[in-house]
């Protein structure tokens, strides 16, 4: 099964670290920094999993999730949201929008890897 992830993150050094981490774990990683075109990028890439920052230039992560969930093909796509905002209301808002898992910064690599592997397994892709 596929192990293709699209990473939407505007912080270049986080992107580089996560990209390295996932590639070492056998993932193909496409990274993208702009929120405004993120939905199009994801829809055309058709990845197995998306990692998405909440606060992005151009469009918020939540708006991107809502747009993806409105698209029939993307309703079951596992989405891991990374954010500096960790309040309960932020989590609730993210869940309501359709985020599969929510992780607050600063996270450890182990947490990211475990979450990605779990989501992949739960989606029946492994």
């Amino acid at each position: 099964m596929g192990r293709h992830v699209v990473l939407i993150e505007d912080e270049p050094n986080i992107t580089e670290a996560i990209r390295f981490l996932l590639m070492r774990d056998g993932w193909q990683v496409d990274a993208h920094a702009d929120g405004a075109s993120a939905t199009d990028v994801i829809q055309s890439a058709k990845p197995d999993l998306v990692i998405l920052d909440l606060m992005l230039p151009g469009k918020s992560g939540l708006d991107i999730v809502r747009e993806l969930r409105d698209c029939g093909e993307m309703q079951a796509l596992p989405i891991l949201m990374l954010t500096a905002r960790g309040q309960m209301k932020d989590r609730e808002r993210a869940e309501k929008a359709g985020v599969t898992r929510f992780m607050t910064k600063p996270f450890s690599n182990r947490e990211v890897l475990t979450a990605v592997r779990d989501l992949h397994a739960q989606a029946g892709l492994e």
């Binding site: 912080e11 050094n13 986080i14 580089e16 670290a17 996560i18 390295f20 981490l21 070492r24 606060m55 990374l82 500096a84 905002r85 607050t104 910064k105 600063p106 996270f107 450890s108 690599n109 182990r110 990211v112």
Partner: protein, 432 residues
Amino acid sequence: MARQMLTGSRIRERRLMLGLRQSDLAQQVSISASYLNLIEHNRRKIGGKLLVTIAGVLGVEPTMLTEGAEATLLANLREAGADHDTPIAELDRVEEFAGRFPGWAEVLVRSHARIAALERNVQTLSDRVTHDPHLAASLHEVLSTAAAIRSTADILVDSEDLDSSWQQRFHRNINEDAQRLAESSRELVSFLDESGAQSDPSGLPQEEVDRFLIDNSYHFAPLESGEATVAEVIDAAPQLQNDASRQMARRLLVQYANDAGFMPLEDMLTAIQEFGIVPDRLQARFGGRIQQVLRRLAWLPEERLGQEVGLVLCDASGAVLLRKPIAGFSIPQFGASCPLWPLYQALGQPHVPLQHRLRQEGRGGAPLTSFSYAWQAGEAGFERDPQLRAAMVLIAAPADAPAAMSVGVTCRVCDIERCTARREPSILREGF
């Protein structure tokens, strides 16, 4: 008049007690020594902002000057009792309490004032933490940089066989991020320090305009007399540091000059002395539109008017565009205000003048009269949606005014129970 006469004498008495010369006090409160002399000899009325300013310089509560020390103590004790959650049975014996235990009465009053000041700090900080875009961006920057460092450091520690080019790359990234983190942490600490000192930390355009207006006491005499143009006033304002704030201030002052053009200061003061602050009568006297009269009232110098005038302007989203505070009514700096304000009722009834008696719940709330009005900004058209604006002028209501409607500041720090307009729970009811 008797009360006014005593006020002047008390100012003189307090000034002499502090060893201040009349000219020094006059200079500190920006009036002429001869005008202060008239006040001290009870030949000119004093009230509003000038009284508050003089009281501040003399280091006393304004009521100490208007009513004397004993009356101030009793009033403060009554206020402390009234603010208590459960009614105090002995409230009518406050004079006896102050007479028998003056020291304890003073302690109680000071504690009450201290609690009120702390609650105001909670309100300001809560407001800031919840809505300040600079603080949110600053925290986001710190956490994102920390995440980058942590993730990169994890890789370096966990990867014994890491290629040397990758090692160099990640070391460089950590170095860059550590510098960024140091810088953003420093900025965050500086921001919080400045917030504590209540200075202007952020340079947001709206905050710069607010500071500009406050520093000028919401009055621009050179503009009214024709001694300066709008551009000259703006160019001379050190508070306006960026293009956005200068643009906002320019729009405001152009409107100001236009309003002052057909409602000259002296004529307005004469009319108000004749029939009081009655917006529709002022409109009938000077012409123009109601919103212009409301705005003009807020720009009159309070030391000449003899009382404070508050003003809140908002757009159709409810966002506050201009705030001129008045004692007894808090206006949040950030975020949404209380939806019960008549200002927002006016938005639902454009072109209908609304008058209310109101009182803001919480410490320091005072009975006020509000005049609210909403109008369509710009030209109407079948192909253009109306752009509404609303204004609310606030003035002190007489102490014996009929019962007033209760409004809040903003839900987060509002104590009104069973309010159907509530958006979120109050932190005042959650252990604060």
